[in-house]
């Protein structure tokens, strides 16, 4: 008695063994649905190891375009004996289990309430392919073929994807096709296909792309003009540097000389990485580093130097589960306080919160501009979910002829003309001083950069009044930043309700879906997506315009709520938290239930809005 959620609305999960080449097969499956015009959201749930441990890949298909994670697995492809028992248990009642019945399932594994679809994957491959590696690899393709038949996926689309992928190794195409057909034919013979959960072509994707956030961030930095990159490997940020390097090989080579218009250095650690970025930016290049929590912790001293000496720094923080080494392969938004106030003494830093790959691209470039304009560290707050999982996203856009904002930099010419140059003079009253690059002018504009207190002319001083003038200017500068950082985004009509919901980054997908769920229950909630810190006025207004504001975030201590309260002077009791911190992306259901829960507590009569 098949159940499931029907057409273009279900969740498929693959249970594989890490390092067995399943990733590419699973990717093909996802890509196929995408090319059939369906909104999907794949999630990779992988262990912190290289080979041999259980790893899962989950794809949600949703015609309505809900891209958040959803609990409840409609169909599970189980090819990992290690985790089989747990995997079978995880299937939703009435759901399907596709498994390799080359070996018979132990009775204890059987469940009455789900449908078992056994396919002798290994057996088939053994007889069809000679070498063991192939046998293992094609086994993955076999189940993709089977799914094609079971879920009614257009086989031509799949074959198209395979042909694209192996364009350079055409020999591999036929055997892949064979594997596909083997799988498809087997299930067609033994089960009635398609199942009730299946896909139908749609046109819900338009010109969207499907890409991971780290690649998009790297491309943003590349288009944004970063010419120096210093980094140290750490999951989940490694692929930012990797992508930047890969694309640089094609896009940053001088056609005439073959030389590189970029310098990429794998540093000895994160302290060195940010030190190099500081040196490069001080010397007039645009530079960035990418890391994760542990790296940011190590960069703390240097971040304070950049803040106080006013040196542009672009820092990509791809957050993972903390504290300490924590859950290196799980996602969280738990570095907000430690990033916003990184380093000892009175410090505040600009943060950007992208929620789609397209925005990772945009903010990657934006961060470089803001860092130069504000002469301070700018931290792009990504996370493992958006960084390492592929997301359906608008295409990456670059405005024709767009120019970089290099900020207040004096040329030799300028130096000739200005009456007086003081590195830390607030000439324009916006708290942002002027700077010069080393080597600009033979006799004018040189200054000494230091992390100690100084006067307007960059001379060391221990005079309290000079110190106060300087740090008050930094406060002024941070005020100025409010007008420059990306403003929040609003969804639907503004101020329909006395309840507001505030979210940012990767909780957006689930939050938007939750809004609809609440709507269906007659609960209207206005929504705002935060995109940056310091908070601009619209953020403040939104909060003031609502009696209660729900803040959705993925950490234990409601960090964004704390920062909002203390920076904007909000009454804490109107700020309600929706928290998720188990390392998995939050679901709409979770937001929905916890919001409804608190609403009933607030007004038992449940008259929402």
């Amino acid at each position: 008695m098949p159940v499931g959620s029907g057409v273009n609305d279900f969740v498929v999960r693959f249970a594989n063994v890490n390092g067995t080449g399943s990733a590419s097969a699973n990717g093909i499956f996802a890509k196929a649905l995408f090319r059939m015009g369906l909104p999907i959201s794949p999630k990779n749930i992988f262990p912190s190891n290289i080979q041999g441990l259980p790893t899962w890949y989950e794809v949600r298909v949703n015609e309505k375009g809900y891209l958040g994670r959803r609990e409840g697995i409609d169909l599970l492809v189980a090819v990992n004996p290690q985790s089989l028992k747990r995997d079978i248990a995880s299937v939703k009642s009435g759901g399907y289990l596709v498994y390799d019945n080359s070996k018979k399932l132990h009775d204890s594994f059987l469940r009455e309430d789900i449908n078992f679809i056994g396919i002798p994957m290994m057996a088939m491959c053994m007889e069809h392919y000679s070498n063991p590696r192939q046998q293992q690899l094609f086994k993955n393709v076999v189940y993709v073929g089977a799914l094609a038949a079971l879920l009614d996926i257009d086989m031509e689309v799949i074959k198209g994807i395979i042909s694209d992928q192996f364009a350079r190794k055409p020999k591999l195409i036929p055997p892949n096709f064979e594997a596909l057909d083997m799988g498809a034919n087997y299930v067609r013979e033994h089960f009635d296909c398609p199942l009730d959960i299946r896909v139908e072509k749609r046109d819900k994707i338009g010109d969207s792309i499907m890409v991971d956030g780290n690649t998009a961030t790297a491309l943003g930095l590349l288009y944004g003009g970063a010419s120096v990159a210093a980094w140290y490997p750490i999951t989940p940020s490694t692929s930012v540097a990797k992508a930047f390097e890969d694309y640089s090989k094609k896009l940053r080579v001088d056609p005439d000389t073959g030389k590189k218009n970029v310098a990429i250095v794998q540093a000895e650690d994160e302290l060195a990485a940010i030190g190099m970025v500081i040196g490069a930016c001080w010397n007039g290049a645009r530079a960035f580093t990418a890391t994760s929590g542990a790296g940011v912790s190590l960069m703390n001293e240097f971040i304070g130097l950049a803040y106080f000496a006013e040196i542009p720094v672009t820092l990509i923080n791809v957050q993972r589960g903390g504290p300490s080494t924590g859950m290196p392969t799980r996602t969280q938004q738990a570095d907000i306080i430690s990033s916003a106030y990184a380093s000892h003494g009175d410090t505040k830093h600009v943060l950007l919160f992208p929620s789609t790959p397209a925005e990772c691209f945009e903010f990657g470039a934006k961060a470089l501009d803001l860092a130069d304009r504000l002469q301070t560290p700018v931290i792009l707050m990504s996370d493992l979910d958006i960084g390492m999982n592929e997301h359906v996203s608008p295409p990456l856009k670059w405005e024709k002829g767009k120019e970089y904002d290099r900020g207040k930099v004096l040329s030799a010419q300028d130096l000739e003309e200005v009456k007086e140059f003081g590195r830390y003079l607030d000439v324009d009253g916006d708290g942002i001083p002027y700077r010069t690059y080393p080597g600009t002018h033979p006799t004018k504009g040189s200054f000494f950069t230091r992390g100690t207190s100084r006067d307007e002319y960059a001379r060391y001083t221990e005079q309290g009044d000079a110190y106060v003038r300087n740090v008050d200017r930094l406060t002024r500068k941070f005020e100025t930043a409010k007008g420059m950082v990306p403003e929040p985004q609003f969804y639907g009509k503004k101020n329909q309700s006395s309840y507001g919901m505030l979210f940012f980054g990767t909780t957006t997908y689930a939050a938007l879906e939750a809004m609809d769920l609440l709507q269906e229950e007659g609960i209207a909630v206005d929504s705002m997506r935060l995109r940056s810190f310091p908070f601009n006025e619209e953020v403040e207004d939104f909060i003031h315009q609502h009696t209660y504001v729900f803040i959705v975030e993925q950490n234990r201590d409601a960090q964004m709520r704390s920062v909002l309260i203390q920076e904007l002077g909000i009454r804490p009791d109107k700020m309600l938290s929706v928290l998720n911190y188990d390392g998995m992306p939050i679901t709409a259901d979770k937001i929905f239930t916890s919001v409804r829960q608190s609403l009933t507590e607030l007004n038992p009569k449940m008259d929402a809005s």
């Binding site: 250095v265 240097f302 767009k402």
Partner: protein, 350 residues
């Protein structure tokens, strides 16, 4: 406070080939203790830059934290300077160098700044063969924090408070050799005639050039029993050779003092002349340098001068094959790929 000298200098004083007087290479008045070795080294740096005809603004001076790291304020006030954080000068210098390959980079550090907190960055700057001159003002102690032993303090050296150092010293020269540095030298703050040509040669060397300069701390480590005092250093110092730096173009007229002397041609055409070299030592041969160092140690001598030089190393920029134009000079034109490229990229994600 930094006190600024009147930069006015007597018009009759000679200018160098690039039109600067020696005073143009000086800095603010030093706030170090009277007699501190570091001030003498600053003097040698000023002298070397003046003689090398370096335009002050074409040089960037960087340092960490410490009395030694303060010195960049006291020389070359017409150069941009960066007093970074403790032990991290090498990474900042690396970034600066990557941004603009056309400036000269002079890094100043202390023995605490380099041999303790900065050890990792020191080692990796060498590994990358960063094109810079790296000077350690080595006084065997933490001057600015009031004289604690540093990691270069010799075993058995007695501190001002009278306690014996029980740890083995780290020899930064030995490390530099082990790690394959292309230019390795040691000198003494009190020996300008040796130090000035060494600094000039180091700046001419197109790669990582390291000079460990013994620089007594008169306030905390110049006592009897200290092996980094003026007295002790003067007593046990010995040189690999007498060295002259011969800038390019300058014709070699001086006739050799003795036929044993060695001539090393540098990348830019300038050269180093080593007269009266100690025997069994060949500056080009790393192993022979290591041996010399080892047996100097066993004899209790402090060997100074050029220790090793390989003029033909590949610096970081050539390893990375970066463009001839400094990266900080590149614009949207070179850095932002085309819209077509972006469309192709988007397509590859569909």
């Amino acid at each position: 406070m930094s006190f600024y000298k009147p930069t006015f200098s007597h018009p009759l004083l000679p200018k160098n080939d690039v039109g600067y007087r020696k005073a143009d290479y000086e800095g603010a008045i030093s706030t170090l203790c009277a007699g501190c070795g570091h001030d003498s080294i600053s003097g040698s740096i000023v002298q070397a830059c003046y003689e090398m005809n370096i335009e002050p603004h074409r040089l960037a001076k960087l340092s960490g934290i410490g009395c030694s790291s303060k010195t960049p304020t006291y020389f070359l006030s017409n150069s941009h300077g960066f007093n970074s954080v403790h032990g991290r000068m090498p990474s900042v210098a690396t970034g600066a160098n990557l941004a603009n390959k056309h400036l000269i980079y002079l890094g100043v550090s202390g023995d605490g700044d380099t041999a303790s907190i900065g050890m990792g960055q020191y080692v990796h700057a060498i590994r990358r063969n960063l094109n810079m001159t790296y000077i350690v003002m080595n006084n065997g102690c933490y001057g600015l924090t009031k004289g604690q032993d540093s990691a270069t303090a010799d075993f058995g050296s007695v501190s001002k408070a009278g306690s014996k150092n029980m740890y083995q010293a780290i020899d930064l020269i030995g490390l530099a050799l082990e790690l394959g540095a292309g230019f390795v030298a040691r000198s003494f703050s009190g020996d300008k005639t040796q130090l000035v040509p060494l600094i000039k040669a180091a700046m001419a060397h197109p790669g990582f050039a390291f000079i460990d300069v013994i620089s007594p701390c008169v306030t905390f480590n110049n006592n009897a029993g200290s092996t980094k005092s003026y007295e002790f250093t003067r007593e046990y110092i010995t040189a690999t050779a007498k060295m002259d730096f011969v800038p390019k173009r300058e014709e070699i007229t001086v006739d050799y003092e003795d036929d044993s002397s060695i001539e090393v041609e540098l990348h830019d055409g300038s050269s180093i002349r080593l007269s009266k070299p100690v025997e069994g030592w060949d500056p080009h041969d790393r192993n022979s340098a290591m041996h010399k160092l080892l047996d100097a140690k066993s004899k209790g001598e402090i060997i100074t001068g050029l220790i090793h030089l390989d003029p033909h190393t590949q610096d970081l920029h050539s390893i990375l094959n970066t463009s001839d134009t400094a990266l900080n000079q590149l614009t949207e034109k070179e850095l932002t790929p085309s819209l077509e490229a972006l469309e192709e990229i988007n397509q590859s994600f569909r």
